[in-house]
Symmetry: none
Subunit: 232 residues, 2 copies
DNA sequence: CAGTGGTCTAGACCACAAA
DNA sequence: TTGTGGTCTAGACCACTGA
């Protein structure tokens, strides 16, 4: 027996929800019925349900039953509001321009952050993000090439996370570092700012649920035009 | 029986950890021993331990035992690690110097952020924070005077949150804005930095659980010496 | 009322860690 | 090898929900 029974049951119920056999908001069979169906004790069945509850997929109501939970707010990308969220919240229209997209050898910092050997290749994308057509952010995204073999440039550059999940990867921990810097000539030109202006810098490393890092992003935001907001 | 047994056991173990009967990093008795001690089945005892694990208070290691987890990051102050936490994590010693502490009239921005009428007075504190005696941060904290009547300068300036809670106030939502700026002459002097250097700026408004804002902080960090880190 | 989830028992066998 | 946590069983009684 490779996996524990309650994990198998967890996966099975999750599949049934994803294939809409159990619909959002509806009640699934009772613990006793499911235990019978899967041929396990009720305690074991409860263990499976508990893990689904922890993931926000199921919701139990005392005396009433177990329900498929509504989709929760995506909290995947850390406590910070994403660029798209913030611009939308401000009534602005976000857009972005891909300025490079190349496979090549990793730099030292990329090797370190992504746990790469020096013979492994990476995909590196550069992008400018805009709010109402004003440049706000310059970002460089690096991804191990082997993770995205066979995926289209279109999918990778416009919705990387969704594309990875559709290919069976699961996103795990996200770590971010935020600091500040002075705009050099290059950044000033790309962002239509002045050399010597203040930039917010952001490093982000995203891992798969296996713990393997899959994305390393370095972004610079024009401080006059952007701020990070979060509340708790 | 008011509370379930596993909650009682949870509380009891938590108390024993807080009173240092079980020390941080040390192993607590095995599940079987604790079940015997509390006169419950092992499954029930495991349920108690599971809740403590979910809170990050205990940590179980297969084949080895159950351990008191290291202190987690204070989550009170939003997802960001606090200054004290970060310096500690880096093996540095945090300290701070109060450079002013005065009651007076609020500025326009203070009136707005703290929802004050213009005849209400405020307490304004300025402080420099250090890591290993290197200045890292200059911050200005403003508090409505009426909220802290009768509290000592010592208590307010060194542990404001604890003092407020001891006086019956409950801390509510925290909102932060992070951006960047260029050091002016004054900031450079206070932080032993150069004019034109990059600073991280942080605005924070903290509310009581009633929704009334009680603290407005403006802080500037020397970007070369500090970064905000958080992960999810 | 009948059915549900919440709690609890007293065992059992397993895989893993440390000695 | 011994002791640990991880999993699992086949019951039980309770409090709660909803008809």
């Amino acid at each position: 027996m490779e996996e524990p029974m309650y994990i198998k049951i967890h996966n099975q119920i999750k599949r049934e929800i994803e294939s809409h056999i159990y619909k959002v908001g509806s009640r699934i069979p009772s613990e006793r019925q499911l235990a019978l169906k899967f041929g396990v004790s009720r305690m074991t069945l409860r263990q499976a349900i508990k893990t689904l509850e922890d993931e926000g997929i199921l919701e139990q109501r005392l005396g009433s039953g177990t329900y498929v939970a509504n989709q929760k707010v995506q909290e995947k990308m850390s406590g910070i509001m994403s660029f798209t969220d913030i611009t939308h919240a401000n009534g602005q229209i976000p857009s972005s321009k891909l300025i490079s997209y190349r496979v090549g050898k990793p730099s030292l910092s990329e090797m370190e952050r992504l746990h790469l050997a020096k013979d492994q290749t990476i995909l590196r994308m550069e992008r400018i993000r805009y709010a109402d057509n004003v440049p706000i952010c310059y970002e460089v995204v690096t991804i191990p090439h082997k993770l995205i073999l066979g995926m289209s440039k279109e999918n990778i550059s416009t919705h990387l996370y969704r594309t990875l999940e559709q290919n069976g990867y699961e996103i795990g921990r996200v770590t971010e570092h935020i600091s500040a810097a002075i705009a050099n000539e290059n950044a000033a030109r790309l962002l239509n700012a002045k050399k010597g202006e203040a930039l917010i810098t952001r490093l982000q490393v995203t891992e798969l649920s296996s713990g393997e890092p899959f994305e390393y992003t370095r972004a610079s935001y024009v401080a006059d035009r952007f701020e990070f907001t979060f509340s708790k």
